[in-house]
């Protein structure tokens, strides 16, 4: 009825990314044009938030309509509910980051426009990443996301640790990108295609003489993603970078990057792995590798978190452990004997990502709130319950959720993940995970003990940013969401299931839109 509106809010030109990019440009422009930095803060904040909201609106617009999964941009981007769900998760992380950075930006001695501009660029990279359907698109969007985040990690120019974090992240990220791109080259060399589905089909043909080379390539691409999600043994950067980066950035990395990288990894596993049974069942290819990194991540992440004194660093290790739980979901997905069960495992992963986003995003938002000039990490939670009971309550909710205690979303998420692993027959991995998460409960509960049963450190009297409404709003939203996900998970689980069915159903070739542009000639 309204062609303009349909173009603007539809997905055919991939509007969410456009909105985020536009908002990024507006943010930076306001920053450049403004006379005083303080006055420009609110307009910039609203411009960024507006971009995120518009992106959300176009997402819901697409989700709501009855639609078939389809490819756009000449087969480079896949529009399906799986991608849309992950996009929503990325946008939630971005919105949380907008709110938390509002007050914290003053400590970083940088304009909010530059900061949020980079955040929005990174977020648009993530939206592209979770919808990418060919190797080139995956690599480009990984780099678009990563470059912005390297800069964000080092954005606090007055802090040596921040610069060190950015440097480490950049060097190691370049190393991992090397794996990624080399793996892609090997895959292309053997299969002569860049489209994920065609790769899977080509590898399923067993008579290919160079099949093992392509397998090596797939392994290297998985290693590249494993680096991004911070899975052991590619996790070494996580504690240093999470601790060194400014706290709002850490929260953004922990939430949005995890969504994006797991989404892309999940799609890669489903589409590009050799399709041995003609689409009836997921490929068990590479399960040993996933099994190993899942188990290692759960054990080592939880284990090392126990001795951390700094809450921010503890949360970094906890994020490694959570990557392990999610990888267990991928193992379960591969191990299921039928595709229906695999789609259950996939929906467990999606739901867990959502729960984890609110739990860990909220926790980092709280650390932003307690941070002071002298204690950038905001780790001093001693006696927080006496200073500000509301904040302590919110943090307790996040900790209980991350530990997987009932009545919070974390419990439902863990329950879904572990039960899908057990039903898929991966009993031992589930046992390792359960034992590791018992260790995990220890350090999460210790935070609650610190807040409620210890006296405040004398010097740490009044938190001076008590009027930071941005963080307050983020904390309120995240804690309510965590409890709602725990008490009434059904509507969200239903959406996650809806999202995973589209990806795991026996694949039909998806129609390519933009028919005006001729499809690339096949190279077979």
């Amino acid at each position: 009825m309204y062609p303009l509106l349909e173009t603007l809010f539809g997905f055919d030109v991939f509007m969410p990314v456009v909105w985020l990019f536009l908002a990024a440009v507006v943010c930076v422009s306001i920053e450049l044009g403004a006379k005083d930095r303080a006055g420009a803060k609110l307009p910039i904040f609203y411009a960024a938030l507006g971009g995120v909201l518009l992106a959300f609106v176009s997402l819901f617009n697409t989700w709501g309509g009855a639609f078939e999964p389809h490819l756009i941009l000449n087969g480079g981007v896949m529009i399906d509910r799986f991608g849309l769900f992950l996009c929503a998760g990325v946008l939630i992380g971005t919105a949380l980051c907008c709110f938390t950075s509002l007050g914290a930006i003053d400590r970083l001695r940088i304009g909010l426009g530059d900061f949020l501009g980079l955040v929005l660029v990174a977020a648009s990279g993530m939206l592209l990443l979770v919808t990418s359907y060919d190797l080139i698109m995956i690599f480009l969007s990984v780099e678009l996301m990563s470059l912005a985040i390297y800069v964000l990690a080092g954005i606090n120019r007055s802090s040596g640790r921040s610069a060190e974090a950015a440097m480490k992240y950049f060097v190691m990220g370049a190393f991992a990108s090397g794996f990624l791109v080399l793996g892609m080259a090997l895959i292309y060399g053997v299969t002569q295609t860049i489209s994920l589905a065609e790769i899977g089909d080509a590898l399923a043909a067993k008579d290919n003489a160079y099949r093992n080379v392509a397998m090596l390539g797939i392994g290297m691409v998985v290693i590249g993603f494993a680096f991004k999600v911070g899975a052991v043994p590619f996790h070494q950067w996580v504690p240093d970078v999470y601790t060194g980066a400014p706290t709002p950035v850490t929260g953004f990395m922990a939430v949005a990057v995890k969504f994006a990288a797991f989404g892309a990894l999940g799609r890669f596993v489903v589409e590009a792995f050799p399709d041995t049974l003609g689409g009836e069942k997921f490929s068990p290819f590479g399960m040993g590798m996933f099994w190993a990194i899942a188990a290692l991540s759960m054990v080592i992440g939880n284990w090392l978190a126990v001795t951390q004194e700094n809450v921010k660093r503890m949360l970094a290790y906890s994020s490694i452990a959570h990557s392990g739980y999610l990888l267990m979901g991928i193992v379960a997905m591969q191990a299921y004997p039928d595709s229906l069960g695999s789609s259950d495992a996939m929906s467990a992963i999606l739901f867990y990502l959502l729960v984890y986003a609110f739990g860990t995003g909220g926790a980092f938002a709280l650390l932003t709130w307690t941070a002071t000039d002298s204690n950038e990490d905001g780790g001093d939670l001693r006696g927080l319950a006496k200073r500000s009971p509301g904040m302590a309550l919110a943090m307790s909710i996040f900790m209980l959720s991350l530990a997987g205690i009932p009545l919070t979303g974390g419990f439902i998420g863990k329950y879904m993940l572990f039960s899908s692993a057990i039903e898929a027959g991966e009993i031992w991995l589930a046992v390792i995970g359960i034992l590791a998460s018992i260790v995990g409960a220890f350090y999460y509960l210790r935070v609650i003990v610190l807040m409620y049963m210890k006296d405040p450190t004398p010097g740490e009297a009044e938190a001076k940013n008590a009027d930071d409404w941005g963080v307050r709003f983020a904390l309120l939203t995240a804690s309510i969401a965590t409890v709602v996900l725990g008490l009434m998970p059904n509507p969200f689980v239903a959406r996650a299931e809806n999202a995973s069915v589209t990806i795991s159903a026996p694949q039909q070739p998806a129609p390519v839109l933009n028919a005006a542009i001729p499809a690339a000639p096949s190279r077979s």
Binding site: M167, K168, V171, M172, F175, A176, F179, N212, M215, L216, I218, G219, M220, I223, F227, V232, P233, F234, Q236, W237, P239, D240, G286, M287, G288, M289, A292, I293, I300, W303, L304, V306, T307, V439, F442, L487, M488, P489, N490, P491, V493
Partner: protein, 692 residues
């Protein structure tokens, strides 16, 4: 305001009729029903988070308004239901709460409310009596420093109770069941600085937990057999099953087990033998709490639950007669203890236990309508009596000081009629209603229950009838004693207390007067048909709701007019006679000392046994509590301290910590080392990938 609501109601009805879809409930009714429990919850949230900043009056007004608004909503739904819904239950907005696999079947639980005939009574009693008690509390708690905590708990209680009464499935009912238990615990121990009161709260909680276990077992049996916990679906499946005799006999044990387990839950919550011991101790809470929770609403939850599941109970064989016996035994047992108690609230507490016994008696005889009828009238007159006693205590506390137990001692009262006329005469009305004197509400409901026992075809019918008549006689006697000792004769306490005693403020007396009016007219909704062409209106209204067990179905086929007249005359003579005797005896001066003297002469063993409540508490302490405590101590030392704390917890924490410190060395912070481990890991994983 009122006009606005009426026009809302009318417009809602209009839309329903215009759309030609009268059964489909309009959003208005749905919304109103959804709001009924949510409004008290809102009041709770506001008082819990910001109540400290409010004045006592503002806090109390807010709480009263939220429950009052819930009452208005309940009225709207009732209006819609009675006049427009054609008997189709009103359903609230509902959401899917959780889905799981249960015994191999898909098992859905919704968060939703359903409003039917039974809910009309429950919702109006809870919100109506609840509103009056909230208003009363504004006066009663005006000087307490924990006022906001009090009102927050009270609103939370109303929310939980409404979930219990309106929830459309047993899971939500159980949520409310536990919620009211929690609020009861919090409010009994409201003055937690007093260790005795905190202990009373704990006792109530622990005893209730025993019952809750039974409830859970019953619920699981039902879920296992029927695959649903939705009450309407349960009723439907049970109704179909009742026709299938073969399957019924084959699974008989399931229904008996489920029904008796659920009844164990009801025994705990509704204070029947043997789990009644918590209710008298629960009087440690503020008096309005005793009126709302421990007389009018929460303790009737067990009765309500059995009524709600009447279709399932109809499938059982021996459970209903057992319930009737337990109820009758409790009625007379508690009434006899009430005869000699010296604390004004204790007398009323035992009276409540005894009246709940009557309700279970009716339930067990299959006379569900009369159980619900007695539940309603009892809510009016017992709330009235408790609030009246609260008014007396409040007045005497001015002399004795707050929390002094002397202010509740009947031996130190007397003659208060002069000082507190409103309290006195309203309480006399409540007392007459409790005793079952004609015209007053209690007469109609209690008489019907005793008549049901007489007419019952069950073998236990006649013994239950005898116990019921005996308990009625005792009830009239102890009620007259309570009123005579409090308001008549001469004041027996210290002089300064008499000087300070005064009538309570308006916020307290107005609810008393309203409840007194309800205690008079409340019974008129169900005039039995042998009197003045009464048409059993209330019973007719409710009758379709319940599934009558087979043994009670022949009622109404025969003409029982003569039996009705006989029963009625007999119980009236007993009630009036015993009330008169008790009143005459105890309103004379020195009655108590003479009673004690007489007791010490001939009746001493009986008297002391009654005064010590048959030593049941002592028995439980010796037989149950102490062995458990000794066992717990052993477990604590050997299992908890030695094995778990020392070996498991500290041992594993030590080992983990040590290992973790070891591992931490790997995190050196040197990038080249990181890249080195990265590469080694990558190589190993790629080998795993290719070789596995």
């Amino acid at each position: 305001m009122g006009e606005l609501l009426t026009s809302f109601l009318l417009s809602a009805a209009d839309t329903a009729e215009k759309s030609g879809n009268v059964c489909e409930c309009p959003h208005m009714a749905k919304l109103a029903l959804t709001l009924v429990p949510l409004l008290p919850l809102l009041g709770f949230v506001i008082n819990a988070f910001w109540g400290k900043k409010l004045t006592p009056k503002a806090s109390g007004t807010l709480a009263s308004l939220s429950i009052g608004a819930a009452f208005v909503c309940a009225l709207i739904v009732t209006g819609h239901y009675v006049w427009y819904a054609n008997g189709v239950a009103v359903e609230s907005y509902n959401v899917s709460w959780f889905t799981s696999q249960l015994f191999g079947k898909e098992f859905d639980v919704n968060l939703g409310l359903r409003f039917d005939h039974l809910s009309v009574v429950m919702a109006l009693v809870i919100t109506g009596v609840g509103t009056l008690i909230h208003i009363y509390s504004v006066g009663y708690m005006a000087h307490d420093k924990g006022y906001w905590r009090y009102f927050a708990y009270l609103n939370l209680f109303c929310f939980a109770m409404l979930c219990l009464a309106l929830g459309d499935n047993l899971v939500l009912l159980f949520l409310g069941w536990e919620g009211v238990g929690l609020c009861s615990y919090l409010l009994i121990g409201f003055w937690y600085e007093d260790e005795e009161k905190a202990k009373a709260g704990k006792k109530a909680f622990v005893v209730n937990r025993i019952g809750d276990l039974g409830f859970l077992v019953g619920m699981m049996l039902l879920a296992w057999h029927f695959g649903t916990l939705d009450t309407a679906e349960l009723t439907k499946s049970a109704g179909e099953l009742a026709k299938n005799t073969a399957e019924l006999t084959q699974n008989q044990w399931v229904f008996n087990a489920a029904c008796i387990s659920l009844f164990v839950g009801a025994v705990g919550k509704s204070a029947q033998i043997p789990l009644y011991v918590w209710l008298p101790d629960a009087m440690a809470g503020p008096t309005p709490v005793s009126a709302l929770i421990h007389a009018a609403t929460m303790v009737t939850a067990g009765v309500y639950m059995v009524c709600r599941l009447s279709a399932v109970y109809a499938l059982s064989t021996w459970v209903l007669p057992a319930i009737a016996v337990v109820g009758a035994a409790t009625a007379i047992f508690a009434a006899s203890i009430g005869l000699v108690q010296r604390d004004i609230k204790k007398v009323l507490a035992y009276s409540t236990v005894s009246q709940l016994g009557y309700m279970f008696m009716a339930v067990g005889l299959g006379a569900y309508t009369f159980a619900v009828f007695h539940l309603m009238t009892h809510a009016f007159f017992k709330a009235l009596l408790f609030l009246g006693s609260g008014s007396v205590i409040h007045s005497l506390e001015h002399g004795y000081g707050h929390g002094n137990p002397d202010s509740q001692d009947l031996r130190l009262m007397g003659g208060l009629k002069e000082k507190m006329p409103v309290t006195c005469w309203t309480m006399v009305i409540g007392g007459l209603a409790l005793s079952g004197v004609p015209i007053f509400a209690g007469f109609f409901s209690k008489d019907e229950i005793i008549l049901s026992a007489w007419l019952s075809e069950l073998g236990v019918g006649k013994p239950v009838w005898i116990l019921g008549i005996g308990a009625a006689a005792m009830t009239a006697f102890y009620t007259a004693r309570l009123i005579a000792l409090t308001f008549f004769g001469k004041f027996r306490g210290p002089h300064h207390v008499w000087e300070h005693a005064h009538e309570s403020p308006r916020t307290m007396t107005v609810p008393l007067v309203i409840l007194a009016i309800m205690s008079v007219v409340g019974g008129l909704v169900n005039i039995p048909h042998n009197l003045a062409h009464g048409a059993d209106n209330f019973a007719q209204f409710l009758s379709g709701t319940f599934t009558t067990p087979s043994f009670a179905q022949s009622h109404g086929e025969h003409d029982h007019t003569s039996a009705e007249w006989g029963n009625m005359l007999f119980s009236v003579v007993i009630a009036i006679g015993m009330f008169y005797a008790g009143f005459k005896y105890y309103s004379r001066d020195g009655a108590l000392s003479r009673a004690d003297a007489k007791a010490s002469a001939g009746l001493k063993p009986v008297f002391t046994t009654l005064l010590n409540k048959y030593y049941v508490d002592e028995l439980y302490e010796k037989v149950i509590v102490r062995p458990i405590r000794i066992g717990a101590q052993l477990f604590f030392v050997f299992i908890d301290m030695l094995l778990i704390d020392l070996v498991f917890v500290n041992g594993s924490a030590f080992v983990m910590g040590a290992l973790s410190h070891l591992m931490r060395r790997v995190q050196t912070g040197v990038v080249s080392f990181y890249l080195y481990t990265f590469s080694i890991g990558a190589v190993i994983l790629l080998l795993v990938l290719l070789l596995w």
